[in-house]
């Protein structure tokens, strides 16, 4: 189950526009080795985990990866950088 918290994981303060940085971040966000792919890998691999610790750990790490999307730590950065860039 997913619960949304209306806060970031870590405070962010964007000071300048940087479209190259935004480009790099967006691959880390949704690219083939980005947070989205990683979280889904963890959350699917946990079903075949034979021990209790492994099940719990993969659930928590998968959630943690997902947080980066949900809390928008990275998404927030990209959106803010892009917003600044096109202003």
């Amino acid at each position: 189950m997913w619960k949304y918290v209306k806060a970031l994981e870590y405070p962010i303060n964007i000071k300048k526009k940087d479209i190259r940085m935004a480009k790099a971040l967006i691959t880390q966000y949704g690219g083939s080795n980005g947070e989205l792919a990683a979280s889904l890998r963890y959350l699917n691999q946990r079903y075949t985990m034979p021990d209790e610790k492994g099940k719990a750990l993969l659930t928590d790490i998968g959630t943690e990866e997902f947080l980066r999307l949900c809390y928008q730590s990275k998404g927030n950065k990209i959106i803010s950088i892009l917003k600044f860039s096109f202003k």
């Binding site: 619960k3 209306k6 994981e9 405070p11 021990d51 610790k53 492994g54 959106i79």
Partner: protein, 150 residues
Amino acid sequence: MMNNFLNQFYPYSIDNNYPNNYYQNMMKNTSNLNTSENEVFNGFMKGNYFDSLYDPYKNYQPIEPTISTERESLLEELQAYNFVITDLNLYLDVNPNDTTAINLFNNYTNSYKKLTKMFEEKYGPLTIESGNKTNTWQWIQTPWPWEVQK
């Protein structure tokens, strides 16, 4: 029967959760946990609550986030506790019998709950189940995290 079947593909003992206490040995040096509340913010800044597991990158020093409003400072404190809870969560997954860590975890979750309550009374709900305290729907009035505050 099931164990024997699985052992063909997975050579480790299932009862003992990985061979030779793999995780425990990996994290053995974390037995002396930080117990002071100052360590919450410290760990939050570094992204690692466990000093003994922190390898700094060259001369990198964490940059302190710029906090200008009261809302931001309260939120930062909340985020710090949230981080420490998550880090202890992962630690406890592999060290489930560490009572010091469990006590710390309980302390921090209590502080987090108190802070959340404080924050929500002032600045509106953080989660939808926190409830609505005014006659208007607060969820659509309070700012979203991606909106640049000025």
